[in-house]
């Protein structure tokens, strides 16, 4: 059994205000193996985004620990990429300048790295728009530009915080398929947060189900779909899809 890439052990986190304490995470434990695509579903407001912030290190857990087993020991650049709900492309920069923002900040805007960014823009159909302003892109293209910005730092683990929730349904299906394919082709490990069960089943290898606040991991369900080709759209037509959907639905709702 290889070491998992990421281990979360008994993570607890609470928000504090003068009115009192609001526990958000309680004994959250799980692990993610290298190359896995894991989805996390849970009721809205259950602390999913808090969990991602804790994993990334933006918030410090009150107890418990996050262990990241990186092969890379240089330890210079962040090895975790974090994609936020909205693309947050900066309007005063061109699409290309946005894509290299992370490289610029971490002082790694080298010819190799920037040519990798340009290659990605080429591959994902953004090259033509590289000198345009973000406002000229469609919602799906913006999301792809945001992904390139994250991938430019070459992270080992990608944290995706409902990256499709701001898109309309049709765009959402296409963009999620798109992004998922990019992540798989790059052999990245990913942790996706969503509240959309079909999205979780069609994209992920494994689904973690979180409970209400204070949240904890209640179920860990591996997904095996019989597929001819591995696209999220095909996955929605797999014979097992309905079974998993019902399983997840019951797991989500049987909370007493």
């Amino acid at each position: 059994m290889p070491k998992p890439l990421l281990e979360a052990k008994n993570i607890c986190y609470s928000y504090h205000s003068l009115q009192g304490e609001t526990p958000a995470l309680k004994d959250v434990s799980f692990s993610i193996n290298s190359g896995e695509f894991v989805a996390m579903v849970g009721p809205s407001g259950c602390g999913k985004s808090t969990l991602l912030s804790v994993i990334y290190g933006l918030l410090r857990p009150e107890s418990g620990e996050i262990i990241f087993h990186s092969d890379d020991v240089s330890g210079k650049a962040p090895k975790i990429g974090y994609m936020l709900q909205r693309d947050h492309l900066l309007e005063w920069r061109s699409v290309y300048e946005n894509a290299v923002l992370g490289l610029e900040i971490t002082g790694r805007r080298t010819p190799e790295n920037t040519s990798a960014v340009l290659q990605m823009m080429q591959d994902y159909g953004l090259y033509r728009f590289k000198d345009k302003k973000p406002s000229e892109l469609s919602g799906g293209m913006k999301q792809r530009a945001a992904l390139i910005r994250t991938l430019a730092l070459n992270p080992e683990l990608l944290l995706l915080d409902e990256p499709f929730s701001a898109l309309d349904y049709q765009t959402r299906l296409m963009v999620s398929a798109d992004i998922c394919e990019i992540i798989r082709s790059k052999k990245k490990t990913a942790l996706l947060i969503t509240h959309d069960l079909s999205e979780a089943i069609s994209l992920a290898d494994r689904v973690l189900i979180l409970g209400r606040r204070p949240t904890t991991v209640r179920f860990d369900i591996p997904i095996h779909l019989t597929l001819t080709d591995h696209t999220p759209l095909a996955a929605r037509n797999a014979p097992e899809f309905k079974y998993y959907f019902n399983l997840l639905w019951e797991a989500m709702t049987d909370e007493t």
Partner: protein, 273 residues
């Protein structure tokens, strides 16, 4: 599309542009008409002795006075001094305003500690301070520049800081998720996002700096338009007072427009509305 259809659409667009131009010409015309009417009524009222020209002057007397000022009283020196002092005050306000607002943005604690002081200093009528400045700093350009700064700087700090604070917090989180520090968040997101706020604050400040400089010149100067106004009112030369006020109007307009052009240029360059 049929040729006729194309032509109708084309002419509809032309009509729209024409209408638009006509509207704007009308606006300009009306503005000019008000100005000329005002001058005419003023001149007539003075000539027909409806008003006493000794107190209220008249356009023709203002013009004569202007020529006199240029030839005998070194008017351009006075204008130059006032402009110079205003621009120095404005630049220092810009510098201290940006510096302090940045510091406050960096430290939540400092900004909370200083908030009541800023509010009090901002609402204090700065003309009340001018006599103090004279005693402390003497009568010279330094006093006048300090007076100019004092009028504009506190409001400028408050609006710049508010502008910095109103930048989307998630965009700052984005910088952290890309491995950036607080400094990166400031230089990559807060500062560029605040440029419109900075420009509009500066537009207000250049006017306020002029106000401060004139207050300073009233009390502690031998040169400058403020001095000219006070001096000529003391010797009951109302033509000269009014001439100087009109010149001040023009200077204020010119300064405002120059920042306005900078703003316009920036918007055009970045394409941000």
């Amino acid at each position: 599309m049929k040729p006729e259809a194309a032509r109708t659409q084309h002419s509809a667009q032309e009509a729209y542009v024409k209408e638009h131009k006509r509207y704007h010409n009308k606006i300009t015309l009306c503005r000019l008409a008000i100005f000329l009417l005002f001058l005419a009524v003023w001149e007539l009222a003075a000539d027909l002795k409806w008003i006493d020209a000794f107190f209220f002057s008249s356009p023709s007397r203002v013009l004569t006075c202007l020529v006199e000022l240029v030839t005998e009283k070194n008017l351009f020196l006075h204008i130059g001094i006032t402009l110079y002092e205003t621009i120095i005050s404005f630049l220092l306000v810009f510098f201290f305003g940006m510096l302090t607002a940045t510091l406050l943005w960096y430290s939540e604690g400092i900004s909370e500690i200083l908030e009541p002081y800023l509010v009090v200093l901002n609402s204090l009528p700065k003309s009340a301070l001018a006599p103090l400045f004279i005693v402390w700093l003497g009568t010279g350009s330094l006093t006048i520049v300090v007076a100019g700064i004092s009028v504009a700087v506190f409001g400028s700090i408050i609006s710049l800081y508010t502008g910095f604070k109103s930048v989307d917090a998630e965009k700052i989180t984005l910088i952290y998720t890309l491995g950036g520090s607080k400094k990166d968040a400031f230089t990559k997101v807060v500062l560029p996002a605040s440029i419109p706020t900075v420009l509009s604050t500066m537009k207000v400040n250049i006017g306020l700096a002029l106000v401060g400089v004139i207050i300073g010149e009233f009390l502690a100067a031998r040169r400058g338009l403020g001095y000219l106004i006070i001096y000529s009112s003391q010797v009951f030369q109302m033509h000269m007072v009014i001439t100087a006020i009109i010149l001040l109007c023009l200077i204020a307009m010119g300064l405002y427009l120059s920042i306005g052009y900078a703003e316009h240029f920036y918007k055009k360059k970045t394409g941000i509305k």
